[in-house]
Amino acid sequence: MALSWRSWLANEGSKHLFLFFWLSLNVWLFGKTFLLYNQGLQYYYLHQMLGLGLCISRASASVLNLNCCLVLLPMCRVLLAFLRGSQKVASKKTRRLLDKSKTFHVTCGVTICIFSVLHVAAHLVNALNFSENYNEEFVTLNAANYRGEDPRKLLFATIPGLTGVIMVLVLFLMCTASTYAIRVSNYDIFWYTHNLFFVFYMLLMLHVSGGVLKYQTNLEEHPPGCFNPNKTLRQNLTVPKALGELFPDYTTEPFPEDPPVPEPFAQNSFTRVCSEEPKFQSHFPETWFWISGPLCLYCVERLYRYIRSNKPVTITSVISHPSNVLEVRMVKDDFEARPGQYVILHCPRVSALESHPFTLTMCPTDTKATFGVHLKVVGDWTERFRDLLLLHSNQDTEILPIFQQRRYPNDGWKCYKLRRLYFIWVCRDIESFRWFADLLCMLHNKLWQENRPDYINIQLYLSQTDGIQKIIGEKYQALNSRLLIGRPRWKLLFDDIAKCNRRKTIGVFCCGPNKISKILHKLSNSSNSYGTRFEYNKESFS
């Protein structure tokens, strides 16, 4: 399948542009910090002690600062939903970019892991160097107390060291519990370990307050490498290379690779004499500036979600569908939702801690406040929920037969940009179609009455033919004629739809397993001879 550049740009363009921008920011930060510590005069003596380890650890720390700041932002779901839903703020491209927020969160998380490894490795080397290259001349610069101090003491008995070690362990727990296999099979482990992020951030605040790495404050009075007449020339006196090149006669020893001293300083320091000893000071922890904003924002959001979720919800009806599916209809004060959004159900009687997301299958409208979800009973929480609901069925809920609760479709045709809808539904079991059979038939009838029979194009596919003898029933005549056996042939479907809608833009919305999603994504990016463009969107929970 040939790639269509227009489609590819529409589907992948803004995503890749954003990623490119983020990557450039990371590279720039890394490079800038690396060079600062490599060449900056205020770090001259520190760099002499620690070498490359200093530059790498600080550069990776700045990348970590950026990513620890960014990683929280895509998780402010209420804020993002507000931005996405607000018509004044977001264009379609921005909305589709906001849909990718979870992927961006994962990208930042992986970056944090990788650069943490780099940061830890570099600091291990720093610990060794602090111990071996103990500087007797400038004692305040040292992190060790004496030459040859056990580096493990530096790691475990200092605040930055200890907090760093615990942070690595927390990161290890969070990382191993976030793999796809664990999320799919034991979501609880993922959720509870991921909430350790708060511990991680608190430790991070402490970690940077240690102030182990210092910079020199009095560069004017004591340019690094300046000549100190009071001190005798010792064997290991190193002369900056720049000076040595200018005046080769005055140097007797080969000099090691030093950070280059810029020209003005070189001349000044050779002619100048140190007027005072270098003074060192710890940095102000800039990480606090990076992470306090997003952390506060996220905490406010969690608090808001908690307060909002404290208002109870009344279940108005429970309908039992075939294939172990339950439809639950509820009402709640001041609840607004739009099609495509999901809610998270929390039932303390079933489980005090667990809560589960479900896509809304019925949204509240201006005239009717009921909203509903369909849930399939697959795990222990849904089983207990169903038992609870059916147990309480006599008390405050009613199980109404499907027909009576009819008030589909939602009132009034608002002016949508949607011109036509192709609804393709693939199921394994023929009974599954009953979940929405009524809704689909009613919709079909209503459109027929309003003389728009081609507005919705329903195609039902049955991928396994075991129970084919169980026909869905005479009252669903409209669906029986639209039932096809076997899996859909996506390429032909796309060609067909493209041919009937030339030069239009078609939104593809996929909710299903990854295999189908990959095929649809590829087809949406490929070219067709009718000039039709497909924009691909997908929904995933895990």
Binding site: L169, T176, A181, E354
Partner: protein, 182 residues
């Protein structure tokens, strides 16, 4: 919470810890740090842990995602029987393997991570979990016996099956009305 399978998480942790041990060991041996014998040990321990933990166990309920190419190692791990099936033994093994690597700075992280994995395996063992190999399902051949009938042996026009059953096969066309050649 009741149905969490802790062993799966312990497996991910142990695999990650094995890789950390391996990396730390390689770095220390390459840099010829003091006490690099511990690093050499840690490389060996890391490789052993990775090989042991690579095949994922089968879940109690639902389908399990296999790791790429794990069936070869599954066969090997299965051979060891109860030594690998029992999680108590795995917990003790990991705890024991972790200790010597704790004496070197570059591998100490691997020790702690493997120690945590060992603890979670102990929890899994207490809850009665076991390692079960993921077997390859035999390819289902289409059942030819019952539903598929043999193709007809006589050319058309063919009488209906009832008529065919009542009259014995004479190996050819049987005319219901005798045809007289004129």
């Amino acid at each position: 919470m009741g149905q969490i399978e802790w062993a799966m998480w312990a497996n991910e942790q142990a695999l990650a810890a094995g890789l950390i041990l391996l990396t730390g060991g390689i770095v220390a041996v390459a840099g010829q740090f003091k006490g690099w014998y511990f690093a050499a040990y840690s490389i060996a321990a890391g490789v052993l842990v990775c090989l042991l933990e690579y095949p994922r166990s089968k879940r109690k309920k639902g389908s399990t995602m296999e790791r790429c190419g794990q069936k070869y190692l599954t066969a090997v791990v299965k051979l060891l029987g109860p030594l690998t099936r029992n999680y108590y033994i795995r917990a003790i093994l990991h705890a024991a393997l972790a200790v010597p690597a704790g004496f070197l700075l570059s591998t100490i992280l691997g020790t702690v991570c493997l120690g945590i994995a060992s603890g979670i395996y102990l929890l899994a063992a207490v809850r009665g979990e076991e390692w079960r190999p993921i077997e390859q399902k035999p390819r289902e051949r289409p059942q030819g016996g019952g539903t598929m009938k043999a193709p007809p042996s006589n050319p058309p026009p063919r009488p209906p099956p009832d008529a065919r059953r009542k009259q014995p096969e004479l190996g050819g066309q049987v005319n219901p009305i005798p045809v007289e050649v004129e």
